[in-house]
Symmetry: C2
Amino acid sequence: MNGEVSDLCRMGAREAVAAIRAGRVSVRELVDACLARAEAREGELHAWHCLWPEAARSAAEAAGSGLLGGVPVGVKDLVATSDLPTACGSPIYQGHRTPGDAACVAALRAQGGVVLGKTATTEFAAFTPTETRNPRNPGHTPGGSSSGSAAAVADFQVPVAIGTQTAGSIIRPASFCGVVGLKPTFGTIEYAGVRSFASSLDTLGAFARNVGDVALFIAAMASWPELTRIEPKPPARVRIVRGPRWEAVTPEAEAAVERAATVLAEAGVPVEEAKLPEEFDSLVDLQDRIQIYEGRRALAWERTARGELLSEGLRYHLDRAGTLSFADYRADRIAQVEWQRWADETLTDGEIWLTASAPGEAPEGLTSTGDPVFCRVWTLLHLPCISLPNGVGPRGLPLGTQLIAPRWKDADLVAASAWLEARLG
Amino acid sequence: MNGEVSDLCRMGAREAVAAIRAGRVSVRELVDACLARAEAREGELHAWHCLWPEAARSAAEAAGSGLLGGVPVGVKDLVATSDLPTACGSPIYQGHRTPGDAACVAALRAQGGVVLGKTATTEFAAFTPTETRNPRNPGHTPGGSSSGSAAAVADFQVPVAIGTQTAGSIIRPASFCGVVGLKPTFGTIEYAGVRSFASSLDTLGAFARNVGDVALFIAAMASWPELTRIEPKPPARVRIVRGPRWEAVTPEAEAAVERAATVLAEAGVPVEEAKLPEEFDSLVDLQDRIQIYEGRRALAWERTARGELLSEGLRYHLDRAGTLSFADYRADRIAQVEWQRWADETLTDGEIWLTASAPGEAPEGLTSTGDPVFCRVWTLLHLPCISLPNGVGPRGLPLGTQLIAPRWKDADLVAASAWLEARLG
């Protein structure tokens, strides 16, 4: 029985939907298997802010139809849920209850998703780490800010989980934990009911253990059923992006990008090096300034009325933003829109940009969630991106390779990623 | 004593700050005067969702410094407040409390603003009217969705109040109530903590009884002190915009626009007719589709779990959105960005577009908040706009004329509006 339960929790989302539909598995069995796995592993990994077995089991009774008919789901603890507290990774909101579900949670529940609990997030999805450990090696960070979601999916506790990305909070933890992370085009999934940090950057997305599952989950949250029917297809053209700040890359992460490029080239896809404009590196700082300026504004109440409950690390970044004026911010927002236009004109239809998801393997220790340097610019530009597991590094930890598509070409991104995933092995 | 109180409540925001600083008036006296006025008039006008005299008086003890040092403020009941409930104009949220203040409320409080209470909003700032009446004639609508804020400012209950605009929810009620309404460039004031309806349109702004006061209030909420030091200045160039859907305009609203144009032309400002592209009228529908699609998404929980508590009118619009697909929405968002680029290229530096704020005077009755047709496009394009009182119509009700500036040129808009305001009398 225990062995059977442990196998069930390894089911992917599409596999689970099919098994439930065919009557081979009940929603309750699946939910119990995932709960058992999560509870058994929580003491070591700390992937969850809270698990609520009773609510999940009671939701399991009702679920079974819809795109996600019965699939257990992890919800990042930045996202409001009517039946579970939402603490946003902050002592200020310990035990905080909201009357309703965030729009994305209501959408996934309407499609039969079963919320297992809230996954650990860094404080307000910013910089201060959680206690969550990397399931591949608990001495290493799982990445952040969607730390718990990435870890729970990688550890077979749920097949899919919600993430958000403002700098690199989906792509980086997906890479570190060896799962697929998809940050769709900005605005694809409704943000209402999710705590915002930097509203011109914050993007909802998801984790799964394969591309088809992550597409299914995004499809459910975005009410975009067509996304579940995308067939694997190589891109029309690929450019390798060695930047920005490519000096941060490790040889193994770069080699992984090149391995993916070789696979594509050998299949006849035209692959060339992207020529980046000289100012491209400055976009990293542009993203950072917008993030901290908007974060400082968004946390105005917490800063002024509950400042003593903010972490030192977060206060450092918010103080840093205090040196920026409204005129600085306005100039940065104008530049953001101009660079988005540049990207719209530079990335052609069917084209995919290929780069590293992170500089390398997950760093050791839990004092930092790692460097989002290879994610910041794509978030700034509102482009859809995905991290695919692509081999391991010298410490035996996963490496991730990132694919980026033109704005709103998420379907092409899914098609190309599914095609590549099957060939990276 | 009563007469004195009644005079104090007529003070504008800048006037009040100066009087408090000079020791001629105490914050407590001012707050009491405004509360007395609000309480005396509430039975007839219904401008407030709730007034909280105790909290206001206790805040008055602490206030006195900052840009708003001691100014009484009305907060639209869509905006979270730590000490007052936030019902969003919906029975679903009756009595709902949030742990903290929305970012804009924290910002205005940090600048010495004193929250008097929450002003009435239509249901989720959408289409279903409140009980609020127009202070100029209680048989007429004050406009919406920021109905209570516009009415409270027009009726001398507060010198300034918060509004939000997704279609025409600041400009239209400002016009109908005969006050100044300013919707700044999208993103000028942080939206965190405000209930969102359509996140690519929702914009925070404000009402006051003159341009300098509204600029002061925006400056405080946006942490943009420079905006308080803008001097009145005529624009470099003016274009009269007769559209979109100009057939809706009444002769008196058009005459008001022409009166403003004449004032400008006589001062030597180049004034000409704007040449609008043929497809310009279609932007009204584009804005409407984005608004209802995003609104349907944002209200996913309310629709699925509390549908019986939504008004029939709101359900009609959300059902209408149910016929739109994700692909329709994506195409609309791409078109929105393209038209924003068109506006950025078409409106030159220092240029102001002049049009009507609304088709005419406030309609009779409370069954509709009036037509936002002359506001939708400017909200869609994220352009800053202001409504200035400009004479009265045949029923003796106010008319408003709208000034529109290029994106992020809010300071130019304030300068031009202040200059014109002084000459419209």
